[in-house]
Symmetry: C2
Subunit: 213 residues, 2 copies
DNA sequence: GGGGGTTACGTACACCGTACGTCTCTTGGA
DNA sequence: TCCAAGAGACGTACGGTGTACGTAACCCCC
């Protein structure tokens, strides 16, 4: 049956697949090798170690997100589009999201979105200092939102998966009163709310000089 | 020398200490036991398993942060204070921050800040829906900021620790031009910038009805 | 034809979490 | 006072982990 030869790309693909099917804890070198039908140590011909493999996973997932940038659009729309693009990670690879977020990527995959964002912010009228500031603000928001969406960070539902388990209303009156709101979380709506709030906030920011379109 | 008897609290304290000294990867049941001068299996008399221990670590770190809430202050100041309080985590227990952020805590330690925040936002004039929205927005920002501060998420410095390793200026003109800004990150200033931006944004938010002080 | 590089793979080692059984010590009740 | 019962400390053992190392098969170029 002439199995495809091993390669870095195939190993990373198998790892991503495994993570999405069974979670990051299921990943082990032995497991991936078995999945591909090879011996464990064969992996090390293509990947220096497990850590590097996971970096490869993060990089691959990140590079898969598709940005559609229209240089002629208003800068607010460009920011909107770029911010939304990141949510593809949570959608396409929910259980790998943690990996993407928690590994600093030095490759072009990691730098490309930064370059694009900075260009957009500069064109919106921010000087270097504030373009970087605003970018970091957005990234913090995006990282936090993605982690909530994929469930590593809580939505702050008083119960979390099984029984309803009422909260003590005298100890936590607000939490208790709003428990039905806290229990559900429309990630799309929350994200849009946040993005719009941020865009509106920076649009009126005094450090932005108007005009450059 | 009459060593103190084992206890859940002592085990958790040892775990936190170990994490801060050598990082989360260094934590193992054997290692903690050795650190305390006991056999491995003795730990299991006080803690059901490693996962529960790590939850205990997260809970302990979280519960250590000190909120100073002045109910008479303007709501913007109360929000400011509460938001700032979380940065104590990154300062006091940088290498445990990831743990705190990535484990949903159902205990009072996790619910207390939520209760306080919701009360403040309600008093600022938000209805339930928008109080929860705004709270989630802040939490996303805080989580993302803390992860950047403790270094799990990149600051987007083109080099990351050793050599300067210049970025290709034709491929990434903005990144390259702003590389000195990207290289350094004043976490305090970034955080304050974000908090102020958010406060200013929600202060003018149309869903907030003015007046309740 | 032979040598050198690449790849697959088996074995081995140190370490991991934890189930289980045992031994010791403390404590409450008769 | 004595004994039963519980709790805590701990040794051993099992199945898992990442990976260093050695070996054997293959391909390509001289």
């Amino acid at each position: 049956m002439a199995t495809e030869p091993l390669s870095r790309a195939r190993i990373i693909a198998a790892a991503i697949d495994l993570i999405e099917r069974e979670g990051a804890d299921a990943v082990s070198m032995r497991r991936i090798a078995a999945e591909l039908g090879f011996g464990v140590m064969s992996l090390y011909n293509h990947v220096p170690n497990k850590d590097a493999l996971l970096n490869g996973v993060a990089e691959t997932v990140l590079s898969e997100i598709e940005f559609t940038d229209d240089p002629d659009a208003h800068w607010t729309d460009r920011v909107r589009m770029q911010a939304r693009a990141f949510r593809q990670i949570a959608h396409g690879h929910p259980r790998s999201t943690m990996l993407v977020v928690s590994r600093q990527l030095r490759s072009t995959a990691g730098l490309l979105p930064v370059e694009r964002a900075l260009a957009t912010l500069r064109s919106a009228g921010f000087d270097g200092v504030h373009a970087v500031r605003v970018l970091r603000m957005f990234i913090a928001f995006i990282v936090g939102s993605l982690l909530r969406e994929v469930g590593v960070t809580p939505t702050f539902a008083p119960d979390h998966r099984h029984t309803v388990e009422e909260v003590d209303a005298t100890l936590f009156p607000e939490v208790s009163a709003l428990s039905s709101l806290l229990r559900s979380c429309d990630h799309e709506a929350e994200y849009e709310f946040g993005v719009e709030l941020l865009i509106q906030a920076i649009a009126v920011h005094p450090q932005r000089r108007e005009g450059t379109r």
